[in-house]
Amino acid sequence: MTMLLIAAERCTGCRMCELACPLVHEKAFNPEKSRIWIEFQGMPELYYPNACRSCGKPPCADACPTTPKSIYRDERVGGGMKILEDVCIRCGRCIEACPFAAIDWHPAKNMPLVCDVCDGDPECVKYCSPQALIVGGKTTLAAERRRDFGRVQIEKVKEKFSK
């Protein structure tokens, strides 16, 4: 399984992912062409990272009206979505269908823009300093989040006997 997984509570909002992604896909720095995003809101700004969840039963593909489906899960690497550029009718139904708002639109190609896990070796993960981005299967994410949760609980116990 090579999914891109996000432990959102670790994210520091540095946007390194928004830079690495277009660099490997488009050979240029431009967050407009990124397939992963950090949403900022409020003052001081808070942030939330977002990207394709590599759904096992992807609603975007279900919603795609073409035959064959022009958006499909890349089963060779077990994660990420691929686009059949010459089949896609550019209707944007996949954007509507994604429950995580994790599909964008390529401003130059006029085509859905979605994470393809760099064909199995996602570049953004290598530059995620707080390790909010993880590669693996859903069990990997579960284990990482459980570790964070456990650490917090153990800290609470420690605090009790330090006082």
Binding site: G13, C14, A20, L23, F29, P44, E45, Y127, S129
Partner: protein, 619 residues
């Protein structure tokens, strides 16, 4: 890609008088000779700002500038600078901030934006790629920097826009008002007052263009190597991510070099209450990184209980903890967080604001300012409630705040009665929170620096970690030159100071060179990069000398040349004037400056290609 990688290739000009914009191409020569950021700021200001003009008049200019790395994923590329003639010092001044503003400017297609003239009514400027519009700002004039950003983002329906703006302090020409983008400040030197004088409330930038580098593979090889070293380094990989800059508070106190009660002491007995460790356990709710930064030294804090409950702040940083904490005798991190947030919203520099307050507190305790003169505020050291009230008055120029808004040096000149000793400033700029008395090389580097009381020209770090013995004079002229050279290149690239341990603390290194070359493809040599740094430093110096700066102005704050540190591990240390003068002789020699006048020699200027400057200074 433009001639070189990294650059956008254009400079935008905003004529505030006529609400007209224009663009000029960046020349290949300018990129090669001045690199970016600091270099571009110095070049534009020297060429375009006539000597003797009022910094708060329409003839002054204000420059936003990025370096070649902004917009790329070189670590800490979120940073960018602003440049103007300072209303505090009257000299060239550069200030920098993180966040995402600089990169967005590059995506919009500009390496620099020059603000000129003066608008008749309050205005803001909207820059969306090539589309530039001037707009009426009357609905946001008077609003805080946070409100301003929220309103403009909503009005323009552009949540991703980056907005640089001023607050009420900039509008009221507080001489240490700053520029704010996000919750980051280009803090020092009063650049916010310059924008205020131009009635320039804000600039909203949104860009959708590419920033390119010549060889993506090679770029990733060099950058991933540096990234991995940043992560493995205990300073950048552990210390700063854990505690941020406040981590240094207890270290400085342990060395006896933490400015306390307006530098009357350098040991703060309640330091544990304002430490980075205390902040982490009591207030920190989240770590935050500026754009492209793996170090995430920013700490988001929230105050849950007590009189400052409800304060949500980005920071405070070490400098702010020093300025409002130990140096004002206040042991409440909660108040420091509130004062930090207030300063950001008013748009004032926390270092100078803290320093004028500690100055006023000492005047008050010594009987120079009466309670009547302080509008009834009991300005004893440690009175946190009075500090908060005074900060608000300064930001709005109300009552005694109007006098203090002029900065400590001007306020002391007006108050007299020996208060000049308590104005801890260099060249009119309030001293930052590192000890010139306790670190000899940093002390000399500040005195000879372009900005004066700044910790960003010469650096304290190498002395604080013992790479250079902080207590001895030997080697300190070289230390001052070396650290100043490194910061000049860092500020021109522009990378953040947090990486200085990676790039090299005391000189320009191959690390600087490799990053510059892999981004730009200029294929510079190390001596060429050193020349760029020297050229920029001498250009700044020429700007200042053209304004009348001479050797006698390269001095430390009076207190540091007169009073030894009275207690603690650094007891007895100070910088007697005769020692400083001796160090300056050697420093000028190393710099190629005239020892009598402090002006760069004709030969030095000509060697660096600064022929116009040679003509101007040797008429």
């Amino acid at each position: 890609m433009w001639t070189y990688g990294g650059y956008a290739g254009r400079i935008l000009r905003l004529d505030m008088t006529n609400w007209k914009s224009s663009t000029t191409p960046l020349t290949k020569e300018m990129a090669r000779l001045f690199l970016g950021g600091n270099g571009f700021g110095a070049k534009i200001l020297y060429d375009e700002v006539k000597p003797g003009i009022d910094p708060l008049g329409p003839e002054n200019k204000y420059v936003f500038a990025a370096g070649p790395i902004q917009g790329t994923m070189v670590p800490t590329a979120g940073r960018s600078g602003v440049f103007t003639k300072s209303p505090l010092t009257g000299y060239f001044f550069d200030a920098y901030g993180g966040g995402s503003f600089g990169p967005e400017m590059k995506y919009a297609g500009y390496d620099a934006i020059v603000v000129e003239g003066r608008s008749e009514k309050p205005a803001y400027v909207k820059v969306f790629d090539d589309n530039v519009e001037f707009k009426d700002a009357s609905h946001i004039w008077g609003k805080s920097t946070y409100e301003t950003q929220e309103i403009l983002r909503k009005d323009l329906a552009e949540p991703k826009a980056q907005i640089a703006c001023i607050g009420p302090a900039g509008e009221r020409l507080v001489r240490f008002a700053c520029t704010i983008w996000g919750a980051r400040a280009a803090g020092r030197g009063g650049n916010g007052a310059v924008l205020g004088s131009k009635r320039f409330k804000a600039i909203v930038v949104r860009g959708t263009k590419d920033v390119e580098v010549p060889d993506v593979e090679e770029f990733l090889r060099v950058v991933s190597d540096q990234y991995n070293r940043i992560k493995a380094n205990p300073g950048t990989g552990k210390a700063l991510p854990t505690l941020g800059t406040p981590g240094v508070t207890t270290t400085n106190n342990q060395l006896g070099i933490l400015g306390t009660r307006n530098w009357q002491s350098e040991v703060f007995e309640e330091v544990e209450k304002i430490s980075g460790e205390a902040m982490r356990s009591r207030l920190v709710v989240r770590d935050k990184g500026c754009m492209a930064c793996p170090i995430y030294c920013t700490k988001l804090t929230y105050v849950k209980t007590g009189p400052y409950a409800g304060t949500f702040d980005e920071g405070p940083e070490y400098e702010t903890i020093f300025a409002f904490g130990s140096n004002c005798g206040v042991a409440s991190l909660e108040m420091i967080a509130r004062a930090d947030r207030m300063s950001d919203e008013l748009g004032v520099d926390t270092i100078s604001a803290g320093a004028v307050i500690s100055f006023a507190m000492e005047c008050y305790e010594k009987g120079i300012l009466s309670k009547q003169e302080t509008d009834g505020l009991d300005l004893r050291f440690g009175n946190d409630a009075a500090l908060i009230q005074l900060l608000e008055k300064i930001g709005r120029r109300e009552g005694i705040g109007d006098l203090l808004a002029e900065g400590a040096a001007r306020a002391a000149a007006k108050i007299g009665k020996g208060s000049e000793l308590y104005a801890v400033t260099i060249k009119g700029l309030e001293n930052a929170g590192h000890s010139p008395r306790g670190m000899k090389g940093y002390c000399l580097g500040m005195a000879t620096g372009t900005r004066g009381g700044s910790h960003q020209d010469a650096r304290p770090t190498a002395e604080r970690i013992g790479k250079s013995d902080r207590k001895i004079l030997e080697g300190k002229p070289e230390y001052a030159v070396g650290t100043q050279s490194a910061t000049t290149i860092q500020d021109s690239m522009c990378v953040c100071r947090m990486t200085e341990g990676i790039y090299g603390l005391m000189e320009i290194t191959n690390e600087h060179l490799n990053i510059v070359n892999v981004v730009t493809g200029m294929n510079l040599t190390l001596p060429e990069l050193v020349d760029i740094s020297d050229r920029i430093w001498n250009l700044e110096r020429s700007f200042n000398c053209r304004e009348g700066h001479r050797r006698e102005h390269d001095v430390q704050a009076k207190r540091f040349m007169k009073e030894p540190i009275p207690e603690g591990p650094s007891k007895g240390m100070y910088m007697p004037p005769e020692e400083l003068e001796m160090l300056k002789d050697k420093y000028y020699d190393l710099r190629g400056w005239d020892k009598k006048t402090g002006i760069p020699t004709k030969e030095t200027l000509q060697r660096l290609g600064l022929t116009q400057q040679a003509k101007d200074l040797y008429k």
